[in-house]
């Protein structure tokens, strides 16, 4: 089958940088699917995008592959009457498919015989089909927010301004969003705003060079990094290439020209996070650091295109940054005039959530919970001594000028101010870690008090939100409760030593609910959300059965990953199946409604197999086991359980005998299920 080359460019006004990549990917995928569906697919496509163009090319089949469809007609028995004449049913079918009766054949379906027509579909050339495939893929693009423009009723993320479709060397007629296919493109807005006519797709690439457009994202990115690094070396520094910002900036320009700017050293008196946020978030500049990681009074900016007067661009950007930094410095100095604790009263006026009251009320609830649960927490005396202070201070930075100007610095600013005010590092660190983990790749707080604060804060939020009926549903989670639940799960499961001495998360949730007179149904819902989010988070590493088995066992969750890995090893042990089966055998009979368990003594048991089990269970129940010793005991218990099932009738007619046997099996299963809930394992 012969294949032909095709080439498409869709020129648009500046698309928002964060959508450039997803739109290109969806469009390429949509076209591939369309080619498959229309029997033109040949091989994977190539594609590139800048903020102003989507370009896709590759080869497709020159003509559609053959396709035959069998259309089922009337039953053979009703196609002809008793005298062998064609019936109305047959004639109707022939009219519908456009074939004479002799062209039909018969098929069998469900034991009955039917007449059928085999129709060969037309095999069109790519030129005839491709425009429609492209238009459909374009119209089906999922867009975050689309717009109309001018007089038409077309929709896209920004207006479409020029398009071209080539098949082989031929410009093919095609109209997209009211724009006709034409053999012209445009350069970048700075260096070549005029149109660039081209002869064929090969010529297109040299036109782009002339128009100063770098089509591949990776090349633009590389150019920024290489040139930016060289510029930074001029001031003896290196650049912080924040990957998100780099992606954004690479998709803000068609030809990046990095430049080095500087700012007055006096601004270095302002804490680095404030300066860095100002540079990155407000201005999309990359900060420059010296070899010891100290911020230098310099930055890397990126202009679009080459242009003439980079000196003016640098001067202008420096002026803008100067105004920003002067603002930041002014706010910082204003904040330093009063201690954080001065903001505490005003937190009563700041709404946390319309249905959950103010921050002031939240802090009062947390003080109350802390006082009622002090003995539950594994904190050392120095940490416990400052806990109330942490609660008082951790939200005060919301009222500082710097945080109101740069909301992304909440927490971090509180820590900076607390340290400058001479508060204990324990307090400052906990405040600084309160929003962790911010993302699935972020780590949990490193300090014990930071971990405690995250649990206290998120449990309050979750319990109060559920009590107010603010559950997440579907894609709706406006209050980020899922993230809060995951933070609880991650902190509890990723710490080395349990933060809650002998208590489980569920008990802690219940305690919080009870202290605020909130019903038990909320406790189950919140607990399930925590389990579900944590299980979901761990799914990329472990099977869900292993995760559930570990989470649902009556163990604190600390070092959860280690426990799951250990279970993975055990499943490779030759005795694993025996242990799992023994648990399940017992589990099945224990599911019946058999009354209250009895205390069983060795002397109560009549048969040697039961006595053996009793002894093995006694071993398994020992508290001072290492995991290895527990596993050895578990294997013995499993053998004893199998023996009981094989040699005695557990459901003995004598009610007391039966009750004792079930009670013993129950103890055996509690021992076997100590680290993993084996009922959820396959």
């Amino acid at each position: 089958m012969t294949a032909v080359r095709f080439f498409v460019e869709i020129g648009v006004e500046e698309m928002p940088s964060q959508y450039v990549r997803p739109i290109l990917e969806s469009l390429t995928q949509g076209i591939s699917n369309g080619l498959i569906g229309s029997r033109l697919y040949h091989e994977p496509l190539s594609s590139h995008a800048t903020p102003r163009r989507l370009v896709i090319w590759g080869t497709v089949l020159a003509q559609q592959t053959p396709k035959q469809t069998v259309v089922k007609g009337p039953l053979l028995s009703v196609a002809y009457d008793s005298e062998g004449r064609q019936t109305a049913a047959l004639e109707g079918f022939c009219r519908r498919v456009g074939l004479d009766p002799e062209k039909l054949h018969d098929i069998e379906d469900n034991g009955k015989r039917y007449l059928a027509a085999t129709i060969s579909e037309a095999m069109h050339r790519a030129n005839a089909i491709l425009p429609e495939v492209l238009s459909q893929a374009f119209q089906a693009l999922p867009l975050p927010r689309s717009m109309r423009w001018g007089v038409g009723d077309y929709r896209f993320i920004r207006p479409v301004r020029w398009i071209a479709l080539w098949i082989g060397e031929e410009l093919v007629p095609w109209t997209l969003a009211g724009v006709p296919s034409q053999a012209i493109t445009y350069g970048n807005r700075t260096d070549h705003p005029e149109s660039l006519p081209y002869k064929d797709p090969d010529h297109y690439w040299s036109c782009l060079e002339e128009g100063r457009v770098i089509l591949p994202f990776e090349t633009r990115k590389q150019q920024i990094v290489e040139q930016g690094q060289q510029l930074a070396q001029k001031v003896g520094g290196h650049v912080d290439w924040d990957s998100e910002l780099l992606e954004e900036v690479s998709n803000l320009v068609e030809w990046p020209t990095p430049f080095l700017g500087s700012f007055d050293e006096q601004y270095l008196a302002v804490p680095a996070p404030v300066l860095v946020t100002s540079m990155k978030v407000h201005q999309r500049y990359f900060p420059v650091y010296d070899n010891r990681g100290k911020l230098l009074p310099a930055f890397i900016g990126v202009r679009n295109g080459i242009g003439d007067r980079l000196d003016l661009v640098v001067r202008g950007n420096q002026k803008v940054l100067r105004a920003r930094l002067a603002d930041a410095q002014y706010f910082f100095n204003l904040d330093r005039a009063a201690p954080l604790s001065d903001h505490l009263p005003a937190l009563k006026q700041v709404i946390f959530h319309a249905k959950m009251g103010s921050y002031g009320e939240k802090l009062e609830r947390m003080h109350h919970v802390w006082h009622e649960t002090q003995g539950w927490w594994d904190l050392d005396p120095a940490e416990a001594a400052v806990a109330d202070q942490v609660i008082d201070l951790y939200k005060t930075d919301l009222l500082t000028h710097v945080v109101q100007e740069f909301p992304e610095l909440e927490g971090e600013m509180g820590a900076i101010y607390a340290r400058l005010e001479g508060e204990s590092p324990l307090i400052a660190d906990a405040i600084g870690e309160q929003y962790r983990p911010k993302s699935p790749t972020d780590s949990i707080p490193a300090t014990r008090l930071g971990q405690w604060l995250v649990l206290m804060d998120r449990l309050d939020t979750l319990v109060l939100a559920y009590a107010a009926g603010l559950k997440p549903s579907g894609s709706e989670d406006p209050f980020a409760l899922r993230r809060a639940a995951l933070a609880v799960g991650r902190v509890v499961s990723e710490v080395d030593a349990s933060l809650l001495r002998n208590r489980t998360v569920r008990e802690m949730i219940r305690k919080v609910a009870h202290l605020h007179q909130i019903s038990d149904s909320v406790v189950d819902d919140v607990y399930e959300l925590v389990v579900q989010r944590l299980a979901n988070y761990l799914q990329s590493e472990f099977s869900s059965a292993l995760i559930q088995a570990a989470l649902r066992a009556p163990q604190p969750w600390n070092r959860l990953r280690d426990r799951i890995r250990w279970m993975m090893e055990l499943t490779q042990d030759e005795a694993w199946t025996s242990v799992a089966q023994a648990f399940k055998r017992a589990h099945r009979v224990l599911q019946t409604d058999w009354g209250e368990p009895l205390a069983v003594e060795l002397a109560d048991l009549r048969t040697p197999v039961e006595q053996n089990l009793w002894l093995a269970v006694k071993d398994l129940e020992s508290e001072n086991f290492s995991p290895e010793a527990w596993w050895n005991a578990a294997k013995e218990v499993a053998i004893a359980i199998h023996a009981v099932f094989d040699q005695v009738l557990v459901m003995d007619p004598d009610a007391t005998v039966k009750q004792r046997r079930l009670s013993l099996l129950r103890r055996a299963n509690q021992g076997l299920g100590r680290y993993f809930d084996l009922s959820v394992v396959e």
Binding site: M147, G316, L321
Partner: protein, 288 residues
């Protein structure tokens, strides 16, 4: 030195040459040039329209007693509405900057995503902030809805921040040093006024009086719009909107109330847009 009045006349001249009608500011206090009837109403309906004007914009919450180098209670916008938005509208805009001496090869001019929304008049659109060497100097919006009605055809609204442009071109750090005309600085004209306006909005404004005014203006707007007397009705809405902005600066509107107040204004804006659309469709029937 570049003066603010030079920039205004250059922009007026440039847009006049492209066939834009140059109008005068609307004589009511308003928060943005979009509320000027030449934009609010004319963005609706099918008829082509091109207009440009300066509109003083009052934002009481932005008042800083004349102490902040860049933030003020009142600033000035030069505003252009092009309906329908021509295909080369971005180029037209960039050429207007060239008329001001801002050449794309000498400066970095960037279109950065901005989704514009004015919930109190039921309006939204997509477009960009225009950055000049890293500083926002303009807003560029393709109107999608106005007064809760779809805009068909779509107009483009181009808004120039005159103070920012002037301070940039004159290479000044703050707007107070700008010259409005040779020898007359922005400081001379507005610094004392800014202090007075901030003192009024943040300290002296009487919440009771303003709340009463808001209610009166709102009901008068509603009454007049019901009777189909469009412009006076709309003007009472514009007055109510400014009173609301002052109440907001005075800090007497809570977050929950805020939504409700904005909703009340949007309802009136929707009603006004509806009356306008009725008027133009019946005048077409009459003239056909």
């Amino acid at each position: 030195m570049t003066t603010l009045q030079d920039i205004v006349s250059t922009l007026k001249e440039y847009w006049k040459q492209t066939g834009v009608l140059i109008a005068e500011p609307y004589d009511l206090e308003m928060g943005a040039g979009t509320m000027n009837p030449l934009t609010f109403f004319r963005a609706l309906g099918p008829h082509p329209w091109k207009v440009g004007y300066v509109q003083p914009s009052r934002r009481p919450v932005d008042g800083r007693y004349g102490e902040n180098p860049n933030r003020v209670y009142q600033h000035h916008q030069f505003q252009v509405l092009l309906k329908p938005a021509p295909d080369d509208v971005v180029e037209l805009y960039l050429k207007s900057l060239e008329a001001l001496g801002i050449h794309r090869r000498d400066h970095d001019i960037r279109l950065v995503e901005d989704n514009w929304e004015a919930p109190s008049i039921g309006a939204w659109g997509l477009g960009w902030e225009i950055w000049l060497d890293g500083m926002e100097i303009s807003q560029f919006t393709y109107f999608q809805q106005m007064g809760g009605f779809e805009c068909r055809p779509v107009s483009a609204e181009l808004t120039y921040g005159l103070e920012r442009l002037t301070s940039y071109l004159a290479n000044l750090e703050d707007i107070w040093s700008i010259e409005w005309a040779p020898g007359v600085s922005y400081r001379d004209l507005f610094q004392r006024v800014e202090w007075e306006q901030a003192t009024y909005s943040f300290e002296l404004a009487d919440p009771k009086l303003l709340l009463d005014l808001f209610n009166l203006y709102e009901s008068e707007a509603g009454r007049l719009l019901r009777q189909g007397v469009l412009r006076p009705g709309y003007e009472f809405l514009v007055k109510a909107s400014h009173v609301f902005n002052t109440l907001d600066a005075r800090g007497v509107i809570s977050i929950t109330e805020r939504q409700a107040y904005i909703g009340r204004q949007r309802k009136l804006a929707h009603r006004a847009a509806e009356v306008y659309l009725d008027q133009i469709s019946s005048s077409e029937v009459a003239s056909s």
